[in-house]
């Protein structure tokens, strides 16, 4: 019997305490923000969309190797002598044409492992976070500043250079051989 009334008492008192808590919260200002109108202040270490500053990129492929999901694809072409690619901001001389630097941001899982090994600090994560697209292909970001023709041209240049070099070598070799041959004949 005692328990019976105790139960009733407990039920009413605890419900009353709970209701007082919720009643107080009716007048507490909201902790949420009205998102698209008000945007949160993001800390400086925010890890969102990847960005590559191609002026500084030397095409060393370290970020692509560090990536656990292989979302970075880099292709490079060696420059031919006489071409000046300029320097990076921390004084490294660039020696490679980067003809492909694709980041598939749909694959990226924002671990930031690619940022740390970069020798020129040119790949980093920004605080841009709204970048949904209707087409999945639009999420593959191409960072190379060169136009399509330029890329082909660089490749061709390199191939041509290599071919010339090979031809030169061959010619040298031939010259050598013929020299040897003539020596042999002698």
């Amino acid at each position: 019997m005692k328990e019976y009334f105790n139960n009733i008492y407990l039920a009413f008192s605890t419900i009353f305490i709970g209701m007082m808590v919720t009643f107080k919260h009716l007048f507490v200002p909201a902790v949420t923000i009205q998102y698209p109108n008000v945007k949160p202040q993001l800390p400086s270490r925010e890890r969102n969309r990847l960005y590559v500053n191609m002026d500084d990129c030397i095409g060393c492929d370290q970020c692509a190797r560090a990536c656990p999901v292989n979302c970075i694809e880099i292709e490079t072409v060696k420059s031919i002598p006489g071409e000046d690619l300029g320097q990076t901001t921390n004084g490294k001389r660039k020696a490679l044409w980067v003809t492909k630097f694709d980041i598939d941001i749909a694959k990226c899982f924002y671990c930031e492992l690619c940022v740390f090994p970069c020798p020129t600090d040119c790949i980093y994560m920004t605080d841009v976070y709204e970048f949904s697209e209707f087409e999945r292909d639009n999420l593959i970001y191409d960072f190379v500043p060169l136009t399509e023709e330029e890329r082909i041209e660089k490749k061709e240049n390199h191939e041509k250079f290599m071919a010339e070099k090979a031809a030169q070598k061959e010619a040298e070799l031939k010259a050598k051989e013929s020299k040897n041959n003539s020596q042999d004949k002698k």
Partner: protein, 357 residues
């Protein structure tokens, strides 16, 4: 009253009854449901330190309209294995049950849908249709979750009618009438004449009655809360167990009708509590119409008072909902059979003895 007025106006009893039957729907139930849904969302949001809907209109006041528009546009999905006729009738029945209650509710002294002598009895009886509707919905959906929800709901609604009736009988013993209009008029005067303060009784009987009337009010409030499936008694649509209970399979407009019925019901039971214990449409402090000498103002004021009282109880229902966890089905039954019914019985007995004084 209003029916006679329309009979005179249109000259035909049929059209008059149709008009007076539809009047509360368009004047009261639909707008109320629209506001109540928004209110529920706003109350819950502010309790939870949020703001709730904010984007449609100023502070989201048009949100429910937008929702209704969305629900109307939605495809009406009927699964292959549903029992189609029952599936389609169920929401109608549920709404009919809860809407029919409004027929006997006295909104003002000059408007009552149907001023029948068995008003209270009629309300208790007609709301039983809701149980049939819910059982139908649960069965016809052909889904185990809905079936469980419907079974729980039926058991719950039928059990909780007993304490409700018991308290109604308690009131009946004091007032001696089932006519809601008369019942309200018997509480006229100032607020100390309300049933919760012992009604028209005087002297020692009044003082003795007050605690038992409060107990009676608490019991009937809890049991009506259970009858409209609100937390902590919402086991029939317990979303964490039964997904959504008996209306899991419903979508679009049919779901909206269930929703409408739920909010109509919330007000209906609040209205009953108000009529029984809080003087119905009566003003606690007198009428502005009397002081200004404008007799037509009095019904308007009464309607405002009635709505105010009803909405206050609806707000308490919401407040409870966003505070409390849910009971288990056996505990729900235990509360009814072990606590509410014995207390209501004892209350009935004591009030009966007091009225003899």
């Amino acid at each position: 009253m209003i029916f006679d007025f329309f009979t005179k106006l249109t000259g035909s009893e049929i059209s008059a009854s149709i008009i007076s039957a539809l009047l509360p729907l368009f004047l009261f139930v639909l707008p109320f449901a629209l506001i109540a849904v928004l209110l529920e969302r706003k109350v819950s949001a502010h309790i939870q330190d949020r703001l709730g809907p904010m984007r449609v209109g100023y502070h989201g006041i048009l949100q429910t309209l937008a929702d209704i528009l969305k629900l109307i546009q939605k495809e009406d999905i009927i699964a292959d294995s549903n029992d189609k006729p029952l599936f389609n009738i169920a929401p109608v029945l549920v709404f009919a049950g809860s809407y029919a209650v409004f027929a006997a509710i006295p909104f003002t002294s000059s408007y009552i849908g149907s001023n029948i002598n068995l008003g209270l009895f009629y309300i208790i009886g007609i709301s039983g249709i809701v149980v049939i509707g819910i059982l139908m919905a649960g069965w016809a959906s052909n889904n185990k979750y809905t079936l469980l929800g419907a079974m729980r709901s039926a058991a719950q609604l039928i059990s909780y009618e007993i304490p409700t009736l018991m308290i109604v009988v308690t009131i009946l013993m004091i007032t001696g009438t089932l006519n809601l209009n008369e019942l309200t008029e018997m509480q006229s005067g100032f607020f100390w004449n309300w049933m919760i303060f012992g009604g028209q009784a005087t002297g020692i009987a009044k003082i003795l009655l007050i605690p038992f009337m409060i107990v009676g009010f608490v019991v009937i409030y809890i049991s009506t809360l259970a009858e409209v499936n609100r937390t902590p008694f919402d086991i029939s649509e317990a979303e964490s167990e039964l997904v959504s209970g008996y209306h899991t399979e419903y979508s679009g407009m049919k779901f909206a009708i269930f929703f409408l019925a739920e909010y109509a019901n919330m007000f209906a039971v609040s209205a009953i509590v108000v009529v029984l214990f809080f003087g119905g449409y009566l003003s606690p402090i007198g009428y502005l119409g009397n002081t200004l000498g404008l007799p037509w103002l009095i019904p308007v004021e009464q309607l405002l008072w009635f709505t105010f009282k009803g909405v206050a109880f609806v707000l308490v229902q919401m407040w409870l909902r966003w505070t409390l966890p849910r009971l288990r089905v056996d505990q729900l039954m235990a509360i009814c059979w072990k606590y509410l019914i014995p207390i209501a019985f004892v209350n009935l007995l004591i009030v009966g003895l007091i009225t003899l004084i």
